[in-house]
Symmetry: C2
Subunit: 80 residues, 2 copies
């Protein structure tokens, strides 16, 4: 089973990487870009086939290690 986790900064948290991306894209001529945010993408390979159990375990991993719950949110996608 595979898990794909998106970790992104909560709205209102300063995101200097995202600002740098938006500014650089504007400088390259991509004027349609009005804002950018940058986050993390984590893909895990997991043993076991129980999706409900895996979802709960991956949520625990996010809370303990993968995301900082003070400033970051995350979402989890599982696939077989």
């Amino acid at each position: 089973m595979k898990a794909r986790i998106h970790v992104y900064l909560k709205p209102g948290v300063l995101d200097p990487q995202g600002v740098a991306v938006a500014t650089s894209l504007n400088h390259l001529g991509f004027d349609e870009v009005t804002a950018a945010r940058q986050g993390k993408l984590i893909e895990l390979d997991l043993d076991g086939a129980d999706a409900d159990a895996a979802q709960a375990r991956v949520k625990e991993m996010c809370d303990k290690l993968l995301a900082n719950p003070v400033i970051e949110s995350y979402d989890i996608e599982l696939s077989a």
Copy 2:
């Protein structure tokens, strides 16, 4: 229009961040994790409503700035 871009290392490229994540999760007792890879998640806000044009422009942004095509792949999701 919003674009969500996943940038990840191509298979075979050494991913020390991913190895560190997998090792740390194992040490925390998450023994079901057999491998991890870490990539980037970039979200863009775009002016304009033409999805086909936006797809082409975002692909150009990825090739020029957001991904290193030698070692990274990317995929693009557009939403209204």
